[in-house]
């Protein structure tokens, strides 16, 4: 048998039909649904008189535009249009009989945090959601990617997706990371190297010692941003850490089924001689704590660097850099560590898990914030509860952070958590696009520890100086 990559293996195990031209129907094991990209899909089903083919494999949770302040169970405390979307999800979940975690449920949270937390996401699965950050689930060795609303409707109706196979890319991070360097710095540094279109047409497998050394939370952070590098999906081969994380979760297999699953999961790795269409290798020791300076996630530099000159780029990027620097209110040559910030946002599907909150709290312990506003939005109700139990919530509150309920919040600012025009934010989320966190808002992406350091000094800060 010819050697296969991990992606090849998962793909082959899910092809339900293949046409002569290579177009496949890929069977979907888990379909995650949220309130923003699903209403039109359910409406489509109703209009065509269709049902959900596999309601047991379909899981819904409202996350994108729910407020993160108390009292949100009452629709009167939401904007009218948000309340309509959440009510539509309530109704669709009930009418079509799918699993559902309403805002009143402690298990509610960001769909990409809830899935793994509840054991819905398992190695070797195909996972889709009408959200580009579905790539997160790749951390378990699951083939996971975002889809549009028409495809959401297609999966609801047929439990399959029309797909052609992507190419294989290997991203290897060798050796150890230096102190103060985290999963977020890895994933941002990879995008800084490959560009936001470097992964287009590929599924990336992340490997190497630095990846193996990461916790499951860290691996989710890495895979989460595969989409920001343009890839269809990011993958990490499952190992003992993965199995340990999954074991005992509410929807993980148990008993004999666990043993059977484990036997298969242990075959999920790329064979030694597998073919790679593209290989990127980065030394772990070369990665520094990084921040973004512009309005594309590829605009990444070590915190010790300066704002670049647009002329230092080539082609269309010269104009884009000029526009970014103007939008961000920066000057070429300015030290990144001199940039003052107004707001700190810790949360999102990229960095809203317990380990992220621990890393930020570690820096914040006994300190006070020097910014106008700082907020922590845990990725799920359960992350929130655990952080309270561990005393992290008290550290955040004593430092001057707002301690919020779970949701996507200021990552995409669909709920009331938004930046004002010109306001500058140190954010642990995934996109620094123009207007992403509010019209005219300015976003610098970084790790939770770096965001915490920025909260204390009021400017972008090298977290290594605080360790």
């Amino acid at each position: 048998m010819s050697p296969k990559t991990l992606y090849d293996k998962i793909w082959d195990a899910h092809v339900a039909h293949e046409s002569d031209d290579g177009t496949c129907l890929l069977y979907i094991d888990r379909h995650l649904v949220h309130e923003v990209t699903s209403p039109q899909a359910f409406e489509g089903l109703r209009m065509a008189g269709r049902s959900v083919r596999a309601p047991d494999k379909t899981i819904a949770v409202p996350d994108h535009n729910v407020p993160t302040t108390p009292g949100r169970e009452d629709p009167k405390n939401m904007t009218e249009d948000s309340a309509i979307q959440v009510a539509a999800l309530d109704k669709n979940a009930k009418d079509f009989g799918i699993h559902y975690y309403p805002v009143s449920d402690v298990r509610q949270g960001i769909v990409h945090i809830v899935g793994p937390e509840q054991g819905w996401t398992l190695p070797g699965m195909t996972v889709v959601c009408g959200d580009s950050h579905t790539a997160t689930h790749g951390a378990f060795g699951a083939l996971a990617h975002g889809i549009g609303t028409s495809e959401v409707e297609h999966v609801l109706a047929t439990q399959t997706l029309i797909q052609k196979k992507s190419k294989n890319m290997k991203v290897e991070i060798t050796g150890k990371l230096r102190p103060g360097v985290t999963a977020k710095d890895i994933t941002l540094s990879v995008i800084g190297k490959t560009g936001t279109a470097g992964g287009t047409g590929y599924v990336i497998e992340y490997c190497g010692e630095a990846i193996r050394d990461l916790s499951m939370e860290g691996r989710m952070t890495v895979c989460n941003m595969a989409i920001e590098g343009g890839a269809r999906a990011g993958l990490i081969a499952p190992d003992e850490k993965t199995f340990e994380y999954v074991k005992g979760r509410p929807h993980a297999p148990k008993g004999a089924q666990w043993e059977a699953a484990l036997t298969w999961w242990k075959t999920l790795f790329s064979d030694e001689d597998a073919h790679w269409d593209k290989v990127i290798t980065i030394k772990g020791e070369d990665i520094a704590p990084v921040v973004t300076w512009g309005t594309s996630p590829e605009d990444v530099l070590p915190i010790t660097a300066e704002v670049p000159a647009p002329e230092s780029f080539e082609g269309g990027k010269v104009g884009a850099a000029k526009r970014s620097i103007e939008y961000m209110g920066l000057t070429p040559g300015q030290k990144l560590s001199d940039i003052e910030i107004d707001t700190v946002f810790i949360g999102s599907c990229t960095n809203g898990r317990i380990e992220d909150l621990r890393a930020a709290a570690e820096i914040l312990k006994g300190k006070k914030i020097a910014v106008k506003r700082a907020m922590v939005v845990p990725g799920s109700g359960l992350v929130r509860a655990q952080a309270e139990e561990e005393g992290l919530a008290d550290i955040f509150k004593e430092a001057g952070f707002e301690w919020r309920l779970a949701g996507c919040s200021m990552c995409l600012a669909m709920n009331p958590d938004q930046l004002a025009p010109g306001e500058r934010c140190a954010a642990t989320s995934n996109r620094n696009f123009e207007g992403r966190q509010g019209r005219g808002g300015r976003t610098h992406l970084m790790s939770p520890a770096m965001a915490a350091a920025a909260a204390i000094t009021g400017k972008l800060t090298d977290v290594r100086e605080m360790m």
């Binding site: 339900a16 039909h17 889809i147 287009t200 343009g230 890839a231 699953a261 298969w264 526009r323």
Partner: protein, 201 residues
């Protein structure tokens, strides 16, 4: 879905690279439960000022491009989120085809579900078409799906590659779900076999 065969129309130049889905349709317009009516908010934050007035410099606000049906755009058009609201907004405005050197994967797929043809061409070809689009409303480009060509107003023609299944669906305005349901027996037998092989799923 509306068929796409051949289109001759005004092309608007947008040379900026990495035009993302937040630019195409900002999140405040995602709170709809409909697919229609988003054209007025296409490129909202580039197109209108804080008071909601049109910004005259923005390409689609210029008189010669108000009826554009084609966009010629910089590299990596449509990067970012999976929101299908992006092609919905383009379509509602009247854009039927977008030409670039590259597109983000999810956006690219979403276009085909909505009767929009995204065309990938080499850098040199996009540069020629960008210049052609800059001529304004007298310069009409032709996109011919059957023959897989784009022709500039000067008659210069470029061939593009396209997946045969996507082409077939777009030319005939076919509904994917209907097509897949014809293969229900294949899905049934896969499901039966998979539930034996991986009963924990």
């Amino acid at each position: 879905m509306e068929k796409f065969e051949k289109l001759t129309g005004i092309a608007a130049p947008m040379p900026l690279v990495n035009i993302d889905t937040d630019m195409i349709i900002p999140k405040q317009f995602l709170k709809t439960i409909k697919r229609s009516g988003l054209g007025v908010n296409l490129f909202d934050e580039m197109r209108y000022d804080d008071a909601g007035n049109e910004i005259p410099d923005f390409v689609l606000n210029k008189p010669q491009y108000r009826d554009a049906e084609i966009l010629v755009a910089g590299d990596n058009f449509g990067c970012g989120s999976s929101r299908e609201h992006a092609p919905w907004a383009l379509k509602d405005f009247g854009i039927r085809s977008v030409i670039s050197t590259s597109f983000a994967d999810i956006f690219y797929n979403n276009c085909f579900k909505n009767g929009i043809l995204p065309i990938v061409l080499p850098k040199e070809a996009v540069e020629v078409l960008m210049k052609d689009a800059e001529k304004g409303s007298n310069a009409r480009m032709t996109v011919d799906l059957e023959n897989q060509t784009v022709t500039s107003s000067d008659g210069e023609s470029f061939s593009f590659e396209l997946d045969s299944f996507k082409k077939h669906c777009l030319m005939n305005g076919l509904d994917d779900i209907g097509l897949t349901m014809e293969k229900a027996s294949a899905i049934d037998s896969f499901e039966a076999q998979a539930s034996q092989a991986r009963p924990w799923v």
